[in-house]
Subunit: 657 residues, 2 copies
């Protein structure tokens, strides 16, 4: 037996005896240490960089490793050899050593996420790269390019029983010739060879899409490093067929080829987004091997070319509630010719793949605390639970929160009023618009609106103004705008009253507006309460508001209005782009895919339409909260108005704006 | 326990006790009897028709079966209920009975083949149909179209863990709506749902193609019955790029986009052949779910879009030597959108998928007798063996047998001389042309050639004329045309002599022609002998000549010329369209696919180019056989000429023609 030495790898702590002269990559593999390599130990890829370390027992001693050989000295690979690092595959053990594996030399390195409560992502994509040097065919030896490649992968990588997609054969011929027998292959799902490049290739990219009704957001990532190379957002061109999703379903229903038009529009936008992402990153579309898509059920059906009409009427039947794996080209996306697409599963007819992605990212199933995760759109997608149990439902909020059905409402866009404060004494408002940085009581505001004039009020603005008017005593607990208050700001509007928020252009908050918001927020609240009932809890520990609107809304006002249940205000927050983050996780990690698929299966789906209690909660929630008992946490920070008696007239000063 | 009765099924002989009232389809299934059903026992498909039979123990007694119920009485399904037949799924057992299952009610019914030595084909295609009635979605029940379908297939057919191709989802939505929850699905490989039709659908079709260098032959089959619905042959349009395969490889090599042009040409021809087949059968392209293709290695590579150039030079490396499974649409074939194509494996660089198919059909591996299977083209593909061992090789015969490199040679086409007899006394020839029915010594011949004039001589003609001239003593054992014979038929041709076969147009058999045929036939013979050496046998028991040329050639003349080894003449025959038959087998039976794939792996591939013995055999085979010892069997029926001495002048009469 050859003389041996002890090698200890950190941070894994794995150690063992290896023959003197063993290279560190081989040592790591034999000891089950996670050390990366694409080139299979040929000193090409630079993935197996390690450092000489030390421990209490073993001092750092350069002589215990071989000196750099020619391959290492001349190394000029894609990943530069860092100062003090050695190429594991070229460095031999000459005595007892401690070897440190830096995190970026690990196959399963992690993407560290900023929020402590969500787990880091282990990078473990469905596609991996393998460099292989293939024996040249010899006359008289029955063989084929395919067989030689498969033999090489089995010998050099231990990858047995791989399948070669027939469409790769032509590339294989060319790559073997151009690479003189050396090629890099991409392997999907550890079973399918889906791409071949001549020689050494170490770039595989992926795109994660969150397909919203309004905005399509895409991220281009390096699947090896997990780095985001580019980000791109654009309007969903389907908007020309209808602002909200239900109007698009109507368009599909009323027009023979309506569904196909909508599908073509969104696919074209996705494809052009891929082009923009690749351009921004200076990358090649052909290097994109994976695309992940999420979206609400209607978007999901439309980009998959499925009929969305069944989602518009009971029983709100999805075509599929499972993850969809399809070739990217089948979705009209130009990536690598064999690029694949993965679509996260929808949870139910109104709870989409975006909610599934948000759930994956926010990870209520990993937390002890009970989390309420809400994505507000035309339907609110609601998820509630913790590691014990997860439930989901959707509530028919309608488009009020998106600014529709509001007299001066509009989509969140530059010029829309998004923030409102009302002086309780004078009833004078201060506003802030999207695209501006100043409040209307600052002089610079008026410079701003010369550039970006006030055009209307968006969802977060309408919520704030109603909540502020409630706190100011203008709107009572029943949602009535009180006509008995003497103020220039309160004007008669047919047989009800309206609040004059802005003069030019005139932006009124009408009684009908308040009613529309009441209906919407009561639906949302009732959905959340229904899930709490099913879970068996009277309180929630955390509330996460997902989606663009969720990030925009001030949690305090949402609570004042009674949109969401009581909760410590510190524990209510926007979930950032939770759906997008979930899509990225599914792009970087096949484990994340398994996780979300299992999770969606386990979620208890509650159908609000068939639950009598939903109606009860809904009716009870139509008013605006005033009882401290219902909102103990909110009451700590906001003084909720008393039940307002009639006839309390107050006089106010004139108005401005 | 319920009262039981004994049911015996013939011809399987399976029997068992079932509860009274059990229907015959259920009884058959519980006893493992092969009884077909597409509709799952709903009295729709008419596949489970059975007859009341009798045995020694059990007399035929109508009262032991239930009377026809309404479903049976009103049955109007696709497959008519034959006189005396009962619908198995509707007929209940009322007492001990013998039930006969007709062969066309069996799932694995057989296609009986005409030749006794080859096995019948069990119909067992990779795709099967299943009618299923899917629960309608109910509000409040979390589900999806996909889930309801999969649940239905699991419950009604016991098909678990099926995968649904994402491209089927849109069809599934439409079909469920149109079929009011009843659909028929096609399942590929027992795992993948690849098609959905509304309601009951019982037609699935497949196409088997033999892609020859000259001719593309296609057959449209009903995959349920195994019936050939249509047959279509057309010229391979690649011919415009070169008559023989090597000239097409040259075209691909010399022209940048040459390979793509050749690929596009053959794919277009295949697609139009599918159109013609569907039209002839009154069938719908969309009902075609499977296409099987075979061809020589060059054709194989070209229709798959692979570069054929590596096949033109050592080491003659195939891109793949395994069976190829690909979507039909990837080959540019318009079938069902998810129709699939299966390409049989090539055996080696010069021994193609056509040889593999011929081997499957001729089944040497199932026979005790040693079979030599030869397909003559520009390369002869040769297979030799029996149940003990199979070997293959190719011989570079060149295109002489296809009429090329022959002074008056031409492809086998109307007007080509295909049969020749030479009177040994007068040296006067008789000829017969393709497209004609009479010999040239019959008066009607001259009427024929007014319509179809003589244009040249094809492969079988050149073989016959040289063999006949050899028997007549005009060509000696070295292949020399003897100038010392006095005859108007023998003329000087530069420094050699030629035989005047025809006057108008003048068709000479020149010394160069004889040399070209000698080279070709010696290569073929040497290949066969090399395999015999490797096998370790001095004789073969059967010779099968495959391909168009093989069917055309007279085995006796092939043997006289020494193309093939000695064999009893009765045991030498054309193999019909063996490659096409093999393709049909692979279309109808997945077992046939497994069989041919295993077989190709087992074949011992002999490379003639690296075998010194091949050269020895080749040189030894250049002459024309004359030794009775070498051809004992041939000598029984033909008197081989003695070794011809020089200077034996004979005078002949004048010529005619």
């Amino acid at each position: 037996m050859a003389e041996q030495a002890r090698v200890l790898f950190t941070p894994s702590g794995r150690q063992g005896d290896v023959d003197l002269g063993t290279d560190l990559l081989s040592a790591a593999r034999s000891l089950g240490v996670d050390l990366d390599s694409i080139c299979g130990g040929r000193g090409i890829c630079g993935r197996c960089q390690v450092q000489l370390g030390s421990s209490k027992a073993v001092a750092r001693d350069d002589s215990k490793l071989s000196s750099p050989n020619l391959t290492e000295s001349n190394y000029q690979g894609a990943r530069p050899l860092k100062e003090g690092n050695r190429l594991g595959c070229q460095t031999q053990v000459h005595g007892d050593v401690v070897i440190a594996v830096p995190s970026d030399s690990q196959v399963h390195r992690q993407v560290v996420r900023k929020r402590p409560e969500v787990p880091d992502i282990d990078i473990n994509p469905v596609v991996s790269l393998h460099y292989v040097e293939v024996d040249s065919g010899e006359l008289g030896e029955a063989s084929s390019d395919q067989r030689r490649l498969l033999d090489g992968l089995a010998e050099q990588w231990g990858l047995d029983s791989l399948k070669l997609d027939a469409s790769v054969l032509a590339d294989l011929q060319l790559s073997l010739a151009e690479g003189k027998g050396a090629v890099t292959v991409a392997v999907h799902d550890e079973t399918d060879i889906t791409a071949v490049w001549p020689g050494f290739h170490d770039r595989i990219l992926g795109v994660a899409f969150d397909v919203g009704s309004t905005t399509i957001a895409g991220h281009l990532l390096d699947l090896e490093s997990g780095d985001v190379l580019a980000t791109h957002g654009e309007m969903n061109p389907q908007i020309r067929f209808g602002e909200d999703v239900m109007s698009r379903v109507s368009y599909a229903m009323m027009n023979d080829e309506g569904g196909s038009e909508l599908t073509a529009a969104v696919r074209q936008a996705l494809d052009s987004a891929i082009g923009a992402l690749a351009h921004e990153a200076g990358a090649n579309r052909e290097d994109i091997l994976e695309v992940v898509l999420v979206g609400n059920p209607i978007m999901h059906h439309l980009f998959l070319g499925l009929d969305p009409v069944p989602l518009g009427a009971a029983p709100f039947e999805l075509a599929t509630d499972q993850a969809v794996r399809i070739e990217a080209s089948d979705l009209g996306l130009a990536t690598h010719p064999l690029g694949r697409a993965y679509v996260l599963p929808c949870i139910a007819g109104h709870v989409g793949a975006d909610a599934a992605a948000a759930m994956l990212s926010e990870a209520p199933h990993r937390s002890e605390a009970i989390q309420l995760l809400v994505d507000v759109g035309t339907n609110a997608e609601i998820v509630l639970g913790n590691s014990q149990k997860i439930l989901s439902a959707s509530s028919p909020t309608g488009p009020a929160f998106e600014g529709a059905q509001i007299s001066s409402g509009q989509r969140a866009a530059p010029g829309a009023i998004e923030r409102v404060r009302v002086d309780p004494a004078t009833l004078e408002p201060r506003i802030k618009i999207i695209g501006g940085e100043h409040w209307s009581d600052e002089d610079k505001f008026f410079t701003e609106i010369e550039r970006t004039p006030v055009t209307g009020i968006c969802g977060s603005g309408i919520i704030e103004v109603i909540a502020e008017l409630h706190l100011a005593g203008v709107i009572d607990e029943a949602g009535v705008i009180r006509g008995d208050i003497e103020s220039d700001r309160i004007v008669a509007d047919e047989r009800t009253f309206a609040y004059v928020l802005w003069a030019d252009p005139e932006i009124l908050i009408t009684q009908a507006d308040v009613r529309a918001v009441q209906l919407a927020k009561a639906a949302l609240y009732a959905g959340a309460r229904l899930l709490m009932d099913h879970y068996g809890t009277a309180t929630v520990d955390q509330i996460r508001l997902a989606g663009a609107f969720g990030n925009h809304i001030d949690p305090k006002y949402a609570m004042i209005l009674g949109m969401i249940p009581d909760c410590e205000l510190d524990s209510v927050s926007g979930a950032g782009n939770a759906a997008g983050s979930g899509a990225i996780m599914a792009l970087l990690s096949k484990d994340a895919r398994s996780e979300v698929e299992a999770l969606v299966e386990q979620v208890e789906k509650i159908e609000t339409a068939t639950e009598p209690r939903f109606q009860e909660h809904f009716v009870a929630a139509l008013g605006i909260p005033h009882e401290t008992a219902d909102y103990p946490n909110l009451s700590k920070v906001v003084e909720l108005p008393e039940r307002l008696g009639a006839g309390t007239a107050r006089r106010r000063r004139g108005r401005r704006g």
